[in-house]
Amino acid sequence: MAGLLALRGLSRNCGVASRFGALRLNGLYRVTSRPLLPATCTQALPPSQPQQLLATSLVRSTAPEIEQAGHDHVLHWTAERILTLVLMGVIPAAFVWPTPSLEYFMALSLTLHSHWGVEAIVVDYIRPSVFGKIIPKLAVGAVYALSIATLGGLCYFIYTDVGIVNAVKLLWKL
């Protein structure tokens, strides 16, 4: 409880995030490259960047998401949460009503959820500061290729073979 109040207090001071910021979309702050930043607003920045208050040699604030995306992350984040909820509904539904349309929709949701997850992992660990400029971009491209191949393969599997739900059911009958 005290922790929640402290968090609330922080967000009030910073004026950047609210408790329901993501859902209400009123936290549309932009973390741009600015030379000087207020000492209190440490929430707004990616945690890896230091803030120098009165430095003579000032440093650009960069982070993988900002470098690669260049726009705010909130819409994507919200879409991820909505997809998670959809997926949590689709998987049991496909098992209860095993129709082809639900199967295809489940394949799509599953692949998209997995794509966003793997992309986040790759962006987090295959960083320009460690791997240079080219390899991170290639890695993200590889994630896209993998996800497209997965979706195509799953659709082929549903069309020509037993389908995902039946695959699990048959495997479980062993």
Binding site: L23, P38, S48, P50, T56, G117, A149, F157, D161, V162
Partner: protein, 179 residues
């Protein structure tokens, strides 16, 4: 006066002269910093150097992190959530891409596994090992969504929900393995 002299003699920062911007009570300094834009001179001396490039240039060491931090339920469940997600993703991609690349049909390969005639215990164990990452990712995913609504950030709640997620995952995986 004497204290200042003593501090200055020791070479202590506390006593020495310093620029005007760093004088005065801390509250004044902070207010000045928050509401002052950098001067033209400061902006001119600003290099557009990347944080990582600068520290590499200065050959500064990185502080130890993973090697020294004590494993805690917060970080361990977090990385497990990521790990199970990655594993499940590999499974899904394996199924999708594998069934295109491999010549036979799914029932064909199932029959191959059946022909190996594994014991009931091994099959149940295998089912548990497949179900566990899925159930953990599901339960911890719900925990994440609860956080996203803004609840459960106190340390007590984090630890309680963490242990609950592990327990529920094991129970659900056991039920799935028994089916």
């Amino acid at each position: 006066m004497a204290a200042a002299l003593r501090l200055a003699a020791k070479g202590c920062w506390a006593a020495g002269p310093r620029p005007a911007v760093l004088q005065g009570p801390l509250v004044t300094q902070w207010t000045r910093a928050v509401f002052t834009s950098p001067s033209a001179a400061a902006l001119k001396s600003q290099s557009a150097e990347d944080y990582w490039a600068k520290n590499k240039r200065l050959r500064r060491p990185v502080s130890p992190h993973l090697t020294i931090y004590k494993p805690q339920i917060t970080s361990m469940l977090s990385i497990t959530h990521r790990g199970t997600g990655l594993a499940l993703s590999a499974l899904v991609s394996g199924l999708g891409i594998g069934m295109v690349v491999l010549p036979g049909s799914y029932p064909h390969y199932l029959a191959m596994i059946q022909a190996m005639q594994f014991g009931g215990g091994i099959i149940m164990g295998a089912k548990f090992l497949i179900a566990l990452p899925f159930m953990f990712h599901l339960c911890n995913g719900v925990r994440h969504l609860v956080w996203d609504l803004g609840y459960g950030f106190t340390l007590r709640a984090l630890y309680k929900s963490g242990y609950l997620v592990v327990a529920v995952s094991v129970v659900l995986a056991a039920i799935a393995a028994a089916m």
